[in-house]
């Protein structure tokens, strides 16, 4: 699976990152390429339906979730809402190493 991209990579690690997810929406609204990676405790928020995934994907945000974090929070790929893709550490490395990427880590 190739998920390397440039543009903005926003990384949410917290369970309650509402403001940061709004930032992702605003940024996507400017027409920029925005990828949102959910990792660490943020994986739990997705499983509980607390992340506005549909709004994000409709706004053009590519929503990814770290598979390792997902499993640590007792989740499985089958539990993911539509539009969220699971990625592994190698995929994340590809995102970080993409030329020109701007990473914002929350």
């Amino acid at each position: 699976m190739t998920v390397e991209t440039a543009g903005h990579l926003l990384v949410e690690t917290k369970e309650s990152g509402d403001a940061f997810l709004r930032d992702a929406l605003t940024l996507a609204g400017t027409g920029r390429d925005v990828t949102l990676l959910l990792i660490q405790d943020a994986a739990g928020a997705v499983l509980r339906g607390h992340a506005p995934v549909e709004r994000l994907t409709e706004a053009g945000v590519r929503v990814l979730i770290d598979d390792f974090s997902l499993r640590q929070h007792a989740g499985a790929v089958a539990d993911l809402p539509t539009g969220v893709r699971a990625v592994d550490a190698d995929d994340i490395a590809g995102l970080l190493l993409a030329p020109g990427v701007r990473v914002v880590w929350h």
Binding site: H8, A19, R22, D23, A24, L25, T26, L27, G29, T30, R32, R102, V104, W105, H106
Partner: protein, 129 residues
């Protein structure tokens, strides 16, 4: 790009007197501003209180020691503003904490933090401290 290279976002409020003293996140922000081509500052969450006019906090007594070197965020912010940092406090977070924009220290403006994200591409870097 003519503006500052860096947007610093601080969300965490007061984090202690004994352990922090002078080296709070506003101090870090000043260091980044001077070394990384300039910085702007957005205060969110509990950190919005740094920008609200308030009276002095009394010194802390620990045993025989009177600790008078606690962080002073308003003084730190004034130093940042004097150094040319533009600073905003998230208006929704101010309101949530019962503060109005007229209580902000001079030089700090209330702003919609989410709308500010539309400006992120103007910065080389956006760092949440």
């Amino acid at each position: 790009m003519n503006g500052p290279a860096l947007l610093v976002v601080i969300e965490h409020g007061y984090r202690g007197s004994a352990e922090v003293q002078f080296s709070d996140l506003l101090y870090v922000c000043l260091g980044l501003h001077s070394r990384l081509g300039g910085a702007d500052l957005l205060l969110r969450g509990g950190a919005v209180s740094f920008a609200v006019e308030a009276g002095p906090v009394p010194p802390l007594r620990i045993g025989a020691r009177l600790l008078e070197t606690a962080p002073d965020p308003r003084r730190s912010l004034a130093r940042l503003l004097a150094a040319g940092v533009r600073a905003w406090a998230d208006e929704a977070d101010l309101n949530h904490r019962g503060f109005t924009a007229d209580r902000l220290i001079d030089g700090v403006a209330a702003a919609d933090g989410a709308e500010l994200a539309a400006q992120w591409p103007e910065y080389q870097r956006v760092w949440f401290l």
